[in-house]
Amino acid sequence: MIEAVYSKGNIVAKTGNEVVAEALRQIEPDVMAAYPITPATEIVQIFSQFVADGVVKSEYVTVESEHSAISAAIAASAAGARAVTSTSSQGLCLMWEMLYIASGLRLPVIMAEVNRAVSAPININADHSDTMGARDAGWIQMYSENSQEAYDNIIQLTKIAEKARLPALAAMDGFITSHCMEVVETYPDADVKAFVGEYNPERYLLDVKRPYTLGSIDLQDYYFEHRYQLAQAMIDARSIILDVAKEFKEAFGREYGFYEKYMFDDAEIAMIIIGSSAGDVKVVVKELRKKGIKAGLLKIRVYRPFPTEQIARDLAHVKAIAVMDRSDSCSGAFPPIYSDVVASIYSAGVLSPKVLSYVYGIGGREFCDEQIVKVYETLGKVASGLEKPSNIIEYMNVRIK
């Protein structure tokens, strides 16, 4: 249950999509270019109504596809505008090549993303396959457990992207978060506007006094240096994310970091998860704690940049960890979050935790308390040495044979 923490806050009942549209109204970008797709449609539908009603001064660019939507947003950003788009699933897939253009040109395009499975077979429900596929595109990625976080994240992300000069997406789970009505605390327009501030890029194409070429060919003699700059920018974004979180807490009272630790500091067994399922896990952890089981949860909020050093430090004391991926890389190896977690702890010399890989909730498959309890039971056995840790992916709640 969300409680008011800001003296001037306003407690409202809104869906994830509604509250993200509300945040975008308050941010009032110069340009919104988007193409509707389930379950993100409402975000742009509501925003387009704001434009039609003259509530915002934003330019709304209607386009014929998601590829055009992101292209228009990139062009607007290059011209010097604060540009936003919104999409999901196949829409994000269609944006693919342009995602890399946005990051390569270092343009802080903002995307309100709603996580949905990718086709085929066609499926409109939540899993993280869409954004996880884009994990190496040079975009900052932030995930939300609920509508409150979706609202807070998109506000912070606008500031982070512009400071880091990187495109950024804020994601929430399709339908579970995007369409569920929840209690959310929103902040007054003036306070949100003051927080995000004005976008004043150092260089922009419409600056006729200082013209430049953007997007020229860049071969073996310079391309590598530019890609190195991008990789470093992602590393540098870490401190920017924490600085903005600090400012956000000072302004509105809510605390954010790379991840949220729930009953974690003394945990012997823990789950790592992203998105709305964290809420269910918290319920189970609370119950397990009542029984004296030292269970904990680490909910990742910032997935790109991945907080490698911090997570390795924080996981060092945990005996057994279950990394829960709501997407599969279909790589023959391991899914995304597992790979990042294991690489992070191994490279830091943290070798004691046993780390298990679970894939759950694909295409909106139910993920409920009983399954979570079972994972913690397995972790308990692995932690105490009763069971050998599995070195293959455990696919949860799927009929295999």
């Binding site: 270092r106 430049y212 240096e225």
Partner: protein
């Protein structure tokens, strides 16, 4: 790649972010070396219509002010002219003040 050549190039710390290339760098490149044909301008035939000047994609038609203060053609900048022939093509037929000639080896 030769080592000395490599050392002259900018590092990631020095390069402008986002692949920005400052405007007006064409002056640093002698694109004239690309030519297989060269435009030759005949001052006596030229009527000063400036069609060549406005058509040239590389700004290689040199102009000056005459005694009346009007802009007139003053020749061709062979450092930048790539020999595309647009000026010769666009020069009014009756005038033909620019003709393309084989570039000497």
């Amino acid at each position: 790649m030769r080592k000395d050549e490599n050392n002259m190039k900018l590092t990631a710390a020095e390069l402008p972010v986002g692949g920005i290339v400052e405007a007006g760098t064409a002056v640093n490149f002698h694109t004239g070396s690309w030519r297989s044909q060269r435009p030759v301008w005949n001052k006596d035939k030229c009527i000063g219509c400036l069609i060549c000047w406005i058509s040239c994609p590389d700004g290689s038609i040199k102009i000056v002010s005459n005694e009346k203060g009007a802009s007139v053609v003053d020749g061709i900048d062979y450092d930048s002219c790539k020999g595309c022939g647009i000026c010769a093509k666009e020069c009014p037929v009756k005038v033909s003040a620019i003709a393309m000639e084989q570039e000497k080896k």
